[in-house]
């Protein structure tokens, strides 16, 4: 659930944000360089008294966050933390955060995602957290490098990584068994998925059950992955040029059009009406590509029938995109000492363990992910961690929102077959390039 909402928030209004790959270069000197100037953080006195608002967007994670606050209060009994949930559905969370930022009333601590970090950091809305690192309250080496890089803008560290997510292939064992089709393995290729999907769709014809689908109303758990797997890119490493017109990208988009055209996947219209995740949990879909955050709901719905394997290999690879959230503090924090103490605790191993045990998300703190893997013993959740190793960073630029809007308005026509995939991809690439050219 969490990242589903989270991901929609990218697609709906992703703002300018760090091009992760390009940041890999400057991420390394983040701690040492210009930021040594910031005073090292020293933990405040244990009797510090303060009230903090903590804004999050996923109600499913509220219990875990409350447990973390309770643990935090064992150290700082006088810091009262109020958790405020605003769903990102319909963009409520970011509409609110943006309005609050315009009026300097941001919550004391709040969740940040990749597409928004650069927008908020570059507009001086966030407090640099290099002091937390130099004061040893947070060790950047404890988190996956890609996430630390994502939240380091122009060499300054702004967000302490909270969790991460990747995509894998989910399937319904019962539907495979009834149709007499062999279950997927982690060594499957695109062709294997296509032929098994065709058999399944044919077997269940007239029952409204389909072989394979992904959520095409956004790229993270569908076409972003296949574009990479076919050797394409979504955006160039420097975030200045669209990758949509490359042959690999077109092949990655064509994959989904082929599935729809051959009846393996429900139509674009149908997937807008009922999301692929909902179809999978209501047993109308035998296989789906979906994110690690849907393991919980999928397991609740299917129980022992749920199977998960690695992504099928495309012409080039079986890459997934990776993304993760971070906790941030506004630049004009009312109580910086208390907010930093809380963010430091949110980034701690103890907080990560609490997140892992509740099983909702993969915690970012290295070494605590095993507890998450064990949260659903009947499936091998380790595939998500394996996929994270070679994963590609979630594609962003300085003004991600502009071209995400182009994706949303142009690509459905390609998937629905109203226009040829290659034409739409080239059109999208040229429109995206002119949008990127406007970024400064």
């Amino acid at each position: 659930m969490n990242h589903n909402l989270n991901r929609r928030s990218f697609l709906s209004f992703a703002a300018a944000s760090a091009a992760v790959v390009s940041l890999a270069a400057c991420g390394g000197n983040g701690a040492a360089g210009s930021n040594a100037a910031q005073a090292a953080y020293a933990a405040p006195a244990k009797d510090l008294s303060a009230e903090l608002n903590y804004a999050i967007w996923d109600a499913a994670q509220k219990p875990a966050m409350q447990k973390i606050v309770a643990e935090f209060n064992k150290q700082y009994p006088n810091i009262k933390v109020t958790i405020d949930v605003t769903p990102s559905k319909g963009s409520a969370y970011w509409t609110k955060i943006q309005t609050q930022a315009s009026s300097n009333t941001l919550p004391d601590v709040f969740w940040m995602n990749g597409p928004h970090i650069k927008l908020y950091a570059q507009n001086n809305q966030l407090m640099p957290l290099d002091g937390l690192a130099s004061g040893k309250a947070v060790d950047k080496a404890s988190y996956p490098k890609a996430l630390v890089d994502l939240y380091t803008v122009n060499g300054t560290f702004y967000g302490v990584p909270k969790d991460f997510d990747t995509s894998a292939l989910f399937y319904n064992k019962a539907l495979f068994k009834d149709a007499g089709v062999a279950e997927p393995t982690s060594s499957w290729t695109w062709d294997d998925v296509k032929s098994a999907g065709a058999k399944l769709s044919k077997f269940y014809q007239g029952k409204g059950i389909y072989g394979y689908a992904g959520d095409l109303t956004g790229g993270q758990t569908s076409y972003y992955n296949t574009m990479l797997e076919a050797g394409g890119t979504i955006i160039s490493a420097d975030g200045k040029k669209s990758g949509y017109d490359s042959p690999g990208s077109i092949a990655g988009l064509q994959f989904w059009r082929d599935l729809i055209e051959s009846g393996v996947s429900p139509s674009m219209q149908q997937l807008t009406d009922t999301s692929s995740s909902d179809m999978f949990t209501s047993k109308k879909l035998a296989m789906t590509m979906d994110g690690s955050w849907t393991v919980g709901p999928a397991h609740t719905a299917l129980g022992a029938d749920l199977g998960i394997v690695s992504l099928p290999k495309g012409p080039n690879s079986n890459q997934s995109v990776i993304h993760g959230l971070a906790n941030v503090i506004p630049a004009n924090a009312k109580n910086p000492a208390a907010a930093q103490a809380f963010v430091a605790f949110l980034g701690s191993q103890d907080a990560a363990r609490i997140q892992a045990e509740t099983g909702t998300v993969i915690p970012a703190f290295n070494g605590t992910q095993d507890a998450w893997v064990k949260s659903v013993p009947s499936v091998d959740l380790g595939v998500f961690l394996d996929l994270a190793k070679d994963a590609s960073p979630y594609p962003v630029s300085a003004n991600t929102a502009a071209w995400n809007e182009l994706e949303n308005s142009l690509l459905p026509q390609a998937f629905a077959g109203t226009k040829p995939v290659a034409d739409v991809a080239k059109d999208l690439a040229s429109q995206m390039n002119s949008a990127l050219a406007k970024e400064s």
Partner: protein
């Protein structure tokens, strides 16, 4: 308590109309053009409130439409750039067309309301109050709640509409995600929500038509259909004019239903979205508030033009007797 108030209002207002010239009017004309400071005591709280919370924001919006407005504040003057960009943006004329089609469909509710009201208000009609209630209920429901219900009703796979069509061997479309059908689906909900309001206004207008007119017509042997077209409709034109204005204004403010009923990356969105939806999208999703402000000014200009146009042509068809 209710009846006396109604009667008093009715009776006196009629007196007002018949007894002219009125003494008070004479008195006012004779005196100065102002009632001194008293009016200001009455209007200042409201005028200040509206000025602060509504007019000032409008002035700001107008100013920002000439700027590149930073996401978190700070505006840079860029002249007419936002407006020239708007001219080149093909989604703008498309969304105006969408809005016109939406409004046209919702306007169909007005003739429907006239016919239904004339049936309900027939003398001796039983259950009139029950019917009025049934038709008015959609108007009092919550749009956010009703949006979910309609999404289910329109669902292509398990929605009752397509199930009903399948009984006749018709394979229904995915209503909210197929271009063309989506606008029809949204407008149907708009019509459904506004019908009860239109019906009440027109019923009230109908009840003010003197029954003698109908009786005289009946004695002359005019059929009910003839009476409907030569008495009911002409005498209802003021009420019809009022609901037309309200429908057109709210049509151009269409947002909530789209927000609740249509998903992201909807194939049908370009053929369905309204100007206000584009405004919201630019201001809050794409953070381009300067451009959004220019779209806001365009919306305002269109509504003002249409309303002025309607008032202008009302003389040709609205019959105040």
């Amino acid at each position: 308590m209710k009846a006396p108030v109604l009667t008093a209002g009715t009776e006196t207002s009629r007196d007002h109309a018949t007894k002219a010239p009125l003494p008070s009017a004479a008195r006012r004309k004779g005196k100065s053009k102002s009632d001194g400071f008293w009016p200001w005591l009455f209007v200042v709280p409201t005028v200040v409130g509206i000025g602060v919370f509504y007019l000032w924001p409008m002035v700001q919006t107008f100013y920002y439409s000439f700027t590149k407005w930073g996401v978190f504040g700070g505006a840079k003057f860029i002249g007419l750039d936002n407006y020239t960009r708007m001219l080149a943006d093909s989604s703008i004329p498309q969304s105006i067309l969408n809005t016109l089609i939406y409004t046209a469909i919702v306007l169909l509710g007005i003739p429907a309301a006239v016919i239904l009201a004339s049936l309900i208000e027939r003398p001796g009609m039983r259950f009139a109050s029950l019917y009025r209630t049934l038709y008015f209920i959609p108007y009092v429901t919550m749009p956010a709640a009703v949006g979910i219900v309609w999404r289910l009703i329109y669902n292509g796979d398990f929605g009752p509409i397509n199930w009903f069509l399948s009984l006749f061997g018709i394979h229904g479309p995915y209503w909210t995600s197929t271009p063309g059908f989506a606008l029809l689906a949204v407008a149907t909900v708009g019509l459904w929500m506004s019908l009860g309001f239109n019906l009440l206004i027109i019923s009230a207008g109908l009840r003010e038509i003197p029954r003698e007119l109908f009786e005289a017509a009946e004695m002359d042997g005019a059929s009910r259909i003839r009476q409907f077209f030569s008495i009911t409709v002409p005498l209802l034109t003021p009420s019809i004019f009022f609901v037309t204005i309200v429908t057109v204004i709210s049509g151009f403010q269409l947002f909530d239903l789209l927000y609740v009923m249509m998903g992201k990356a909807n194939l049908a969105m370009p053929q369905t979205q309204s100007l206000v939806y584009i405004f919201y999208n630019q201001a809050f999703l794409q953070n381009d508030k300067g451009y959004a402000a220019a779209i806001g000014i365009l919306i305002l200009a269109i509504i003002a033009l249409l309303t002025a146009f309607q008032f202008r042509i009302q003389k040709r068809w609205v019959n105040y007797v």
